[in-house]
């Protein structure tokens, strides 16, 4: 079914043409929709003027290719959608303890153009400003420990004014002035580096860079942190 419409004199004597292919819900991705037209390859530039054609509908709806900033929901809301559990099946009278207990810090899952980042907070002893690190952006413990140095070296130097910027090393093996620990989903503090990397990424909720001299075996396998007490 094609429709040729004109709007009278005010469109430079040119008719607008709309031709629909097969009727049906168009379920291609927005990137594909734009790409149907004479857009440059790979870009999501909008279709050129004139004709719009439609693909025949697919048999099943495809997952929408991620478009930056669409749908227009705020960052808070994206995290809500992805980090909260799916709504439970209708009506059971069980308490929804599967939603996760309230005493665990949540890691933020952020979407940016298709890549899911996993940002966890990281604090360093003596530095009031916390940072965030994307665990999925790292391949292993080495790059993570390099990131720690990167994130805090300048801040540390600023705190201990007068000294030059010192590289922060040895956070994984106890040889340095600082040691990297993490808090898992049960709230226990563990040394970073003991478990396989993938397991670490899936269980780590928060990171801390503690002074090695402050660490003791008992404090590391401490019981779940209470959420009200003053922090270090």
């Amino acid at each position: 079914m094609a429709w040729n419409g004109g709007f009278g004199g005010d469109e430079e004597g040119r008719g607008l043409e709309l031709s629909l292919g097969l009727p049906g819900y168009f379920s291609g991705s927005p990137a594909q929709a734009a790409g149907l037209e004479k857009g440059s390859a790979g870009s999501t530039a909008a279709p050129a003027k004139g004709t719009i054609g439609f693909k025949a509908p697919r048999c099943r709806p495809a997952a929408a290719a991620p478009v930056v900033g669409w749908p227009p929901v705020r960052a808070f809301r994206r995290n809500l959608a992805s980090s909260s559990s799916k709504p439970p099946p209708p009506r059971s009278h069980e308490p929804s303890s599967q939603r996760g207990n309230g005493s665990t810090a949540t890691a933020k899952v952020v979407e940016a153009g298709g890549n899911k980042g996993l940002f966890v907070k990281i604090n360093m002893d003596g530095i009031p400003i916390g940072r965030k690190v994307d665990l999925r952006a790292h391949a292993g413990y080495d790059t993570l420990s390099a990131a720690v140095d990167h994130l805090f070296r300048g801040l540390l130097a600023a705190q201990t004014s007068g000294r030059d910027q010192q590289v922060i090393t040895g956070v994984l093996n106890g040889s340095g002035e600082y040691t990297l620990v993490y808090e898992d989903e049960e709230g226990d503090q563990m040394l970073v580096g003991d478990v396989p990397w993938e397991m670490f990424v899936s269980t780590a909720r928060r990171l801390r860079v503690l002074r090695s001299s402050d660490l003791s075996p008992s404090s590391l396998r401490a019981a779940s942190r209470k959420r009200t007490a003053a922090e270090c």
Binding site: A45, K49, W70, F76, R77, P90, S96, I129
Partner: protein, 590 residues
């Protein structure tokens, strides 16, 4: 003037109206309801200008780059309350890179210098640092209200400075900000003698808060009317907080989930029963259906209910909302579904504003049964409904036409059909007819967002009929330059236009360049603009600032680019301050 009094002196003895002292005019101007009226009065003559500007107490800078802070201070020396807005609206959805600008620091510095008696400061979508907050705490001896909306750049250290330094602060209202969590207990820095808090909103804070300190603060601030907690406050603490503040009018609960225990439920229900003045309710993250009945005793009095973060669904949710017969504002997730909205329609007849948010915005398949039906039902049964934000996955022209007929009193209509280019799911036509009906029927429409499959035709209707429209948002719509031309050559009252992923090019932009100076701003991203047109626009309109951005991760080397090169993002706004000097590398001013 001399009627009735026989001993009245001849008229010449009383001053002619145009020589009345300034105080008289200042008093007269205080009755003008809108800033734009005051501005118009100030343009009448020099003496009115003098009287108006000296007596202006409230100032809204809707675009922080439209004028310099010094301009504002010089022109309005007696301001007591200022609101400054920064980044364009699409920054909320990640389309504006970090470091883009909108720093609050120059405004705080100018205010500290020129408005020492400042009492209220409000920033929206701006970059506010801890230094700014410290300067605020140190500079204004009678500072009372701090409101930060969608801001970032500060931490709890900055909040600590406010708590410690602002002896008379009444309102600390933090809405949807990104706040860095530091190891400082800012709440405990309110002195023990401090009792003046009326509003405390820290719902967007991610970190922990010392509950004991909070309880003591709430106990001693007997005038506390608004308390909005963050997600870290567990349910069992909510009851004890409420008992200490039964006078509360607006409450944002903390996390509203816990294993069900009868005694906790009873405690909550009893605490709510004591809050006879509670009118506005929000929060309820992860709300557990079993606890919703604890709210029942306050339902009758509620005028505003924000459950847009509550991922709760099912009969408990609907039962709860249906009891709130006096609701004027309702924000929910689409988990309420059509049948829930039908219940709202029949129970909440005083509804004025409805927002329905998507629970799974990135899923392709429909998981909840929320369609055009829900909106049709509410529009049919709620005669005072005037503001709508509705996310759904399907729509028909017929539904929109029905809605338009039911509710000609819409002032704000924002429909977001989640999949771009979605046509009428029954007729497979574009949704032109539906949105046209909206703008033709709703003569008072001030804000409109369109979505779904749309051709230039709808923009012709909007341009022709939407006389009062001030803000228009367009995405994945239109099929030629005509679409944009219709908008820019019509829409008499248009102030803000934001467009993304539409086939609009250079011609309508240049043909309507003068229109842009009557508007606050224009945003166009992923359209069909070229650099040459932007250069031409900047040359033609010296009082517009024309900002171009291509790749937010890369510098924008305008000089090396030809006129034909594609412009990914254009942001244009009128300004009396000239080009700003704080652009990051990815943004260039043409």
């Amino acid at each position: 003037m001399g009627r009735g009094g026989s001993h009245a002196a001849p008229a010449a003895a009383s001053p002619p109206w145009h020589a009345l002292p300034d105080e008289v005019w200042e008093h007269a101007f205080s009755f003008l309801p809108a800033d734009s009226d005051r501005g118009a009065a100030a343009a009448a003559c020099r003496s009115w200008l003098r009287a108006e500007r000296r007596s202006r107490r409230r100032l809204v800078i809707a675009n922080c780059y439209a004028a310099s802070p010094q301009d504002a201070v010089d022109r309005f020396p007696s301001v007591r309350a200022v609101e400054v807005k920064g980044k364009p609206h699409f920054a909320d959805f990640g389309l504006v890179p970090p470091g883009w600008g909108a720093a609050a620091a120059p405004w705080v510095a100018a205010a500290a210098d020129g408005w020492p008696l400042l009492e209220e400061l409000s920033f929206k979508r701006m970059y506010v640092t801890d230094d700014c907050l410290e300067m605020i705490a140190a500079s204004f001896r009678n500072f009372q209200v701090l409101r930060l909306v969608s801001c970032e750049g500060f931490s709890t250290s900055g909040l600590a400075a406010i708590a410690a330094g602002c002896r008379n602060v009444r309102e600390l209202d933090l809405q949807e900000n990104e706040i860095e969590d530091c190891s400082i207990h800012w709440l405990s820095l309110f002195p023990e003698s401090f009792t003046s808090l009326v509003t405390l909103n820290f719902s967007c804070l991610e970190g922990d808060v010392d509950i004991t300190v909070l309880e003591r603060l709430v106990t001693r601030c007997r005038n506390l009317k608004t308390l909005k907690l963050n997600n870290a406050i567990p349910l069992d603490k909510l009851a004890s907080l409420l008992r200490k503040a039964p006078q509360i009018v607006e409450l944002g609960t903390g996390r509203f989930s816990a294993d069900y225990h009868l005694d906790l439920f009873s405690k909550l229900a009893a605490a709510f029963a004591g809050c006879k003045s509670l009118r506005r309710l929000s929060g309820a993250w992860d709300a557990v259906p079993e606890y919703l009945p604890a709210f029942y005793c306050v339902c009758e009095g509620l005028t505003s209910l924000n459950l847009s973060y509550a991922t709760v669904r099912g009969p408990e949710l609907v039962k709860f909302i249906s009891r709130c017969k006096n609701l004027q504002l309702l924000w929910v997730m689409d988990l309420i579904e059509d049948h829930g909205l039908a219940a709202v329609a029949s129970s909440c007849n005083k509804l004025q504003e409805l927002r329905v948010f998507p629970s799974a915005p990135f899923d392709a398949a429909e998981q909840v049964s929320l369609t055009e039906r829900g909106l049709v039902d509410v529009s049919a049964s709620c005669p005072m409904l005037e503001s709508v934000l509705y996310f759904c996955r399907r729509m028909t022209n017929e539904a929109l036409i029905t809605i338009a007929k039911n509710r000609p009193n819409f002032t704000c209509f924002r429909l977001c059909i989640i999949e771009p280019h979605t046509p009428d799911y029954i007729t497979h036509q574009p949704l032109d007819a539906g949105f046209s009906a909206i703008v033709e029927s709703c003569k008072g429409l001030r804000r409109l967002s369109v979505s779904g499959l749309l051709t230039d035709r709808v923009f012709r209707s909007i341009g022709a009929h939407a006389d009062r429209l001030e803000m228009l948002s367009i995405a994945f719509a239109g099929n030629s330059d005509l679409g944009l031309h219709y908008i820019l050559s019509g829409c008499k009252s248009l102030k803000k236009l934001e467009i993304r992923d539409c086939p609009f090019g250079d011609k309508p932009l240049l043909a309507n360049a003068a229109k842009l100076e009557t508007m606050r701003s224009l945003w166009m991203s992923s359209c069909s603009l070229t650099l040459g047109a932007c250069r031409q626009l900047a040359r033609k309109m010296p009082r517009l600032s024309v900002e171009v951005m291509n790749d937010p991760r890369r510098a924008c080397p305008l000089d090396s680019l030809t006129d034909e090169s594609h412009v990914e993002t254009l942001y244009v706004y009128r300004t009396i301050a000239g080009p700003r000097s704080d652009t990051p590398a990815c943004v260039q001013i043409v």
